[in-house]
């Protein structure tokens, strides 16, 4: 103990040299914070972060293995908990979904016939890049995850990232072999969405909680819990029609969305590489933003299983 105590005085708080160094380090951190600010895209560290992420990728891949196993075990326990009941529920769901599938196929067929008749431009079929999340969802102030694909695999900024059951975010920055996904729940995430049941536009704003808020909802519409939210594609970044979630029943004035996918729990993700929209006229001036939205309005012809079609789901849960 005496030895520890004496060691403590050497570099714990003691020693004028160590103390001066400490002050320098603290000031340095404050300076870094001041430089970095809240907007990650404008930060001088933006690229450094991606380089570090790239170089630590092999280590992270190995380190994420035990966590993945743990997640799987806990998921297995959770799903076995009431297995019989779950089976009954799933059977019922399955019967429901069969009907929906028939309807979807019929509509799809009808839709493609109409498109043919009208000569509507075919929506580009997105290329799906499968990736694995290799880090956890950041700290208490960031909701972002690294995935193990980068520019080498065709990933680019702004691409949509989906779990099997819905959108989880978009690509925020890309390195050669890793990419950072900004989750829908992050404070900086703003996604234009469409409330399908009433046909209203809104913005889905993350606030680091589990359920993002709906802001700037169109005036004069009656929003209600259980309504379905899809991407509207108004930003020209994400394709239209990706499933996001349902409006959660909240008592207060603000509306929140319970996401179909749980961004913080997702392991494997699909990244949608939508081919760039080809403009035949002159490049669009900044003033006319509305024609840019037309070509990607139709997402119905996509055959990729993950690109959920904008078929109305049942209102209930």
């Amino acid at each position: 103990m005496a030895k520890r105590r004496s060691l403590g005085t050497i570099s714990g708080l003691g020693g004028p040299w160590a103390r001066g160094f400490l002050v320098i380090l603290v000031l340095l951190s404050i300076a870094l914070l001041a430089i970095d600010r809240a907007r990650p895209e404008q930060s001088p560290f933006f690229h450094i972060k991606q380089v570090v992420a790239d170089s630590t990728r092999p280590v992270l891949t190995i380190l994420s293995a035990p966590l993945r196993t743990l997640n799987q075990v806990s998921a297995a326990i959770a799903s076995n908990w009431q297995a019989a009941k779950r089976v009954r529920e799933l059977e019922r769901d399955n019967r429901n979904l069969m009907q929906w599938r028939d309807l979807a196929l019929a509509l799809h067929e009808k839709m493609s016939r109409y498109e043919e008749l009208l000569g509507a431009p075919k929506a580009p079929t997105p290329i799906v890049i499968t990736a694995r999340a290799i880090t956890d969802a950041g700290g208490p102030f960031v909701r972002a995850r690294l995935v193990n694909v980068g520019t080498d695999d065709g990933v680019a900024e702004g691409q949509a990232v989906l779990a099997y059951n819905g959108l989880i975010g978009r690509i925020m920055s890309v390195g050669k072999r890793t990419a950072r996904v900004l989750l829908l729940t992050d404070l900086n995430s703003r996604v234009p969405v469409f409330i399908t049941d009433i046909g209203a536009h809104a913005i889905l704003a993350g606030d680091n909680s589990g359920a993002p808020r709906l802001i700037y909802i169109e005036r004069g519409v009656q929003v209600d819990a259980g309504m379905r939210i899809i991407t509207s594609g108004e930003d020209g970044v994400l394709p239209r029609g990706l499933a996001i979630g349902q409006i959660a029943p909240t008592g207060g004035k603000e509306w929140r969305v319970s996401l179909f996918a749980r961004p913080e729990r997702v392991d494997f993700v699909s990244i949608l590489e939508v081919p760039a929209i080809q403009f035949e006229e002159a490049p669009p001036a900044p003033a006319d933003a509305e024609p840019a939205l037309e070509p990607n309005v139709e997402d119905g012809t996509s055959t990729a299983p993950v690109a959920e079609l904008a078929i109305p789901a049942s209102g209930g849960r």
Binding site: R5, L33, A38, V52, F141
Partner: protein, 103 residues
């Protein structure tokens, strides 16, 4: 990610401080900031300040067995969490969309 790096920082700062110099704490914090993509300097500052604060109680915590060390960790974790919240509130400013003050 919970305070995983802080467990190591705390343990070594309390038992063998010379194994965990300030520079190392700073680098660990910086690495965590860069890796999680958060504001750079946030965790570096938090870890440094927490160690400074908890080190004032090193005589109570260190060398008194495991329970004292654990009690110290609970204290340290609370200090770190409060600190990181305060620093983030100052550094990041209010929610741009005008959200709740407590996030």
């Amino acid at each position: 990610m919970p305070l995983f790096p802080f467990m190591a920082i705390y343990f070594w700062s309390m038992t063998r401080p010379d194994y965990m110099p300030y520079a190392a704490i700073f680098v660990i914090g910086l690495f965590q900031d860069v890796l999680t993509g958060g504001p750079v300097g946030l965790w570096a500052l938090t870890y440094l300040l927490t160690v400074v604060i908890v080190s004032t109680q090193i005589d109570v915590i260190a060398g008194r067995g495991r329970s004292a060390l654990w009690a110290g960790f609970i204290l340290a974790a609370v200090v770190a969490t409060v600190l990181v919240w305060v620093i983030a509130r100052i550094a990041l400013g209010p929610d741009p969309a005008g959200g709740a003050a407590w996030f």
